[in-house]
Structure formats: structure tokens, C-alpha cells
Symmetry: C2
Subunit: 199 residues, 2 copies
């Protein structure tokens, strides 16, 4: 046994894996999921098509991880922005602004993550994405209900509906590439009313 995987090799493998994910993300941001053939991802990552399969058993597995990574990044950014605020109203405003601001910054990626047709296996990951948002928001809503800032309500249902409203309202602007001047403020007002933020 003259060959035993060493640290250096492990590091290189790990780097390859990361490069694959990064390449997939870049292609998604440029050409959407539709442009993400395994061959294209491999080429951009600087390795052969077959090598991708050393790291991921199937394309769906690869993109499940890509979606997970990208989603986590988005949710984290939103959570970070919301954490800077105090009070439900302000936090929710931060959520909407951060979410829509980032989406409009990379509309192709946002579309891919939110709505583009993908493999069912990858689609499942999308549910996780939306669920993560919903859970984040449900926490704020629950706090608001507890503090009396909001009227009694099911925080999870409200959060889920809120995520749906947010996503749906962004689909049009994402397709157009820009949002109207009043879209974001209008959406915030809608959502504040929906949660029962007192005026």
C-alpha cells in the first residue's frame, strides 16, 4: 500500500468540490438553472465532466447543495439585517428590503432560486429555502405577539403567507429587472397591515 490519501490531497479534493459549487452558482447567476449542464459546470470549475461525479453522485445532489448554499447565504443576510433592528415593524421592513434588494441585485439567480423550473429533487430544496425564511420570520412574529406589539395570530401561518406574498410580488419585478418606485414601500405597508402592526 504505497498510496494513502494525505492532507494535501484531501485539501485539493475539498477545493475542487468548492470550485464546482462556486462554478454552478456563477453559471446560475449568469444563465439560470437552464444553463447549468454538468459539462458547463465542470468546464468552468476547470476539470473534466466525469470528475464532478467524484464529488456528487448525481446532478440533482450537486444542485441540492448549490441551492442549500445559496439559500443559506440569503437567509443569513436577511437575518443579519433584521437583527440590527428592534421591534417587529422595523425587523419586517428590514426583511423585505434586504430580500428584495438582494434579489434585484442578482435577478437571474433570484429567479432560479425562487421560481425557475428545476428537477423535482432540487425543487424540494427550494421548499427548505422558503421554510427557512418562514421560520426566521415566525420568530419575529411570535416575539411581537408576546410583547403585545401584534394581535394574536398563528406566527407560522402568518410567516408562511408573508413569504408567499413577498416572493410573488417580486416575480414581476425580477422579470422586468427593476421594481417600481412604490413597490417595496407598498409591500412593506401591506405586510405591516397583515401582521397587525399598529399605525
Amino acid at each position: 500500500m504505497a498510496y494513502r490519501s494525505t492532507e494535501r490531497v484531501k485539501a485539493r479534493l475539498s477545493a475542487s468540490r468548492q470550485r464546482i459549487i462556486a462554478a454552478a452558482l456563477e453559471i446560475m447567476a449568469a444563465h439560470g438553472y437552464a444553463g447549468c449542464s454538468v459539462a458547463a459546470v465542470a468546464e468552468r470549475a476547470g476539470l473534466a465532466t466525469g470528475s464532478v461525479y467524484r464529488h456528487f453522485p448525481t446532478k440533482a445532489d450537486l444542485f441540492a447543495e448549490v441551492f442549500r448554499t445559496a439559500s443559506q447565504r440569503e437567509v443569513d443576510a436577511v437575518a443579519r439585517a433584521a437583527a440590527l433592528e428592534t421591534g417587529v415593524a422595523e425587523r419586517v421592513s428590514a426583511v423585505v428590503e434586504t430580500f428584495s434588494g438582494r434579489a434585484l441585485q442578482s435577478p437571474r439567480l433570484a429567479y432560479a432560486l425562487l421560481a425557475e423550473p428545476v428537477d423535482p429533487a432540487v425543487d424540494a430544496e427550494r421548499l427548505v429555502f422558503r421554510r427557512a425564511y418562514a421560520e426566521l420570520i415566525a420568530g419575529y412574529v411570535a416575539e411581537g405577539v408576546a410583547s403585545g406589539e401584534l394581535p394574536p395570530q398563528d406566527p407560522d401561518l402568518s410567516a408562511t403567507a408573508l413569504v408567499g406574498a413577498l416572493a410573488e410580488a417580486m416575480v414581476g419585478p425580477l422579470a422586468a429587472g427593476v421594481a417600481g418606485r412604490d413597490t417595496i414601500p407598498g409591500l412593506i405597508a401591506f405586510i405591516h397591515r397583515a401582521l397587525g402592526v399598529s399605525p
Copy 2:
């Protein structure tokens, strides 16, 4: 020229076309879009695969029409239910109840119409579907704003967000096959608050 298409033939052709659409709908309701190969649709409609192409140039065209038909039926049902009511609050309640009631009645079909991964060309038809709901609802909202029943707001934005909230809140229950006892009332309360229905 001994052969000239006669009424009887035209009727038979038209009947075939209808059978194809009906077969596609039935398969969608049973196995989702994923189960809808052209061969399967043809078999259920009682004709050969190739004959489908006498009626529709491509599969995408066929399913665009299938989606259009099914969507129209749904929107009509919702509009009919809403028309029986007076006042925005009641109409919106009817919308939510009818929409979710029908969706839960045929969850597989509802999932296909709302969220299942499909060809981009068919996906476009889905946008039309959601747009139709939004426009219906925007009309009620505009009336409500005009009559003073609702506070000032962009009816189209509110309606779009409302449709998103409704669809998102239904995805979970659709996957589960049933909605919790409080889901529909909770959703109606959320939406009433969002529109600014006075309590």
C-alpha cells in the same frame, strides 16, 4: 376530389381534441405533470401517439391549452363564489374558501397547476393563471378602496401579494393532503388585516 371534410368529420376531430385535453387533465390530476408523457395522454384518449400531433404542434402547446382550460375553470369558480357576496371582506373570504376548498379536493392537480416543475413554455401559462386571479382580486380591492371600505393602496400590488400568500400557505397543506382546522380561518384573518378590512 372525392373527399371533402364534412360536418361529421369535423365533429369527430373536435371530439378527439377535447378527449386529448380531458385525458391530459385526468392524468395530471392522478399523477401530476410528471406522468403526462404524450404516449400516456394518447393512450388514455384512445388514439395513437402520432395523432396527438394532428391537434397540437408540440407537447408544450397541448399543455399550455390544458393549463389554460383548467385555470379558467378555477378562476371562474372563484369568481362565481365571490360574486354571490357583497362587500370586500365577504368576497375575499369567498375567494380564499373556494380556492383552498377546490385545491384540497384535487391536491395533485392543484399542485401541478400551482407549483410543479414544468416546461418553461407551460410555466408561462401559469403566470397567466396567477395573473388572472390577481386581476379578479384587484377589482374587488379597487372597489373597496373606492367605497372607503379599505384604506388607500395599490390594488394590483395588494392582489398580487394576496395571491402569493394564498398559494404559499396552501403548498404545505397540499403536500399533506389536508389543512389544519385553523388554516383557512387564519388565512382569511391575515388577508383581511393585510387589505385593511376594518374589524
